[in-house]
Symmetry: C2
Subunit: 137 residues, 2 copies
DNA sequence: CTACAACCTGTGAGCAGGTGTCAGGTCAAG
DNA sequence: CTTGACCTGACACCTGCTCACAGGTTGTAG
């Protein structure tokens, strides 16, 4: 199986397959005749695992660690449990941050509805944005 | 005012000032004697504007456009209104996506509580993660 | 006067997770 | 035999910094 075939079969872009191969997540063998990379069904399984883990919020670096641990014959499960707990906390923080930003933007639009457009001068670039900055403080 | 002084006064890292200068958001003049960059109070105002806009979710590229428009003597306000409406929609989408991920991770942890750790084999890297993938489909 | 620290400079690399472009090699069909 | 579709590695690009490097400048202490 070449990179292109694996990509199409796995509903992933060719670039992604090449990227994963370059960073060592996939380790295809080689066709000695032409130097082409050869992916086995086990690489397809690996790729499915990577997609599943990515879907669960794991970073590629973490996935690489997990795969390494598995290749070394150790159970990656404890590591997996640790990572996801940390990821849940991080994600919660990010969501809160984005909701704060969302409220801020919505309030800004509301406030701006009554304000006119202004021409820039030496002191001010856009009084709309600057008014939010002032309100913030 | 040198880069370092501007950075400290604006509660921004020196690297950030240099970065903004490199990408053209700040345009200091030069000391002819030693080649040092000279920042004026207007650059400090510009930097405050950049921080305010970034706080509101504007990207540096968008901020550059806004500043360019202002320098050309046009009101950047219509552009600002357009961008923020788009940003609100994008942000809402991202929040929903992250909440979906959050639920998925929390459900995974709950399900995994009753599952044992497993050793990897040819078919499976970590059955915890793979079980989520299967449930998804 | 000089040594030294603390500043300044431009350039380039690194992060994450791809996306894409390039020149060149390979292969099968017509 | 030529065309077009594929393959390869190496590299640049995106965002918003953060940092390292090597070298020039400045101010102070001895």
């Amino acid at each position: 199986m070449t990179a292109n075939v694996l990509a199409k079969q796995s509903h992933v872009s060719l670039f992604t397959v090449r990227h994963y191969t370059r960073i060592g997540l996939l380790k295809p063998s080689r066709n000695r005749q032409n130097g082409y990379k050869i992916y086995e069904p086990s690489d397809a399984a690996r790729l499915r695992f990577i997609q599943a883990a990515k879907n669960l919020g794991f970073s590629l670096a973490e996935i690489a660690e997990i795969l390494d641990e598995a290749v070394r014959g150790n159970s990656p499960c404890p590591m997996v449990r640790e990572i996801i707990v940390r990821r849940i906390e991080e994600n919660q923080r990010k969501i809160k941050e984005m909701q704060r930003l969302q409220r801020k933007m919505e309030n800004a639009v509301k406030d701006w509805a009554k304000m006119k457009n202004s021409m820039p001068d030496g002191d001010s670039v856009c009084h709309l944005i600057e008014s939010v900055g002032e309100v913030e403080k």
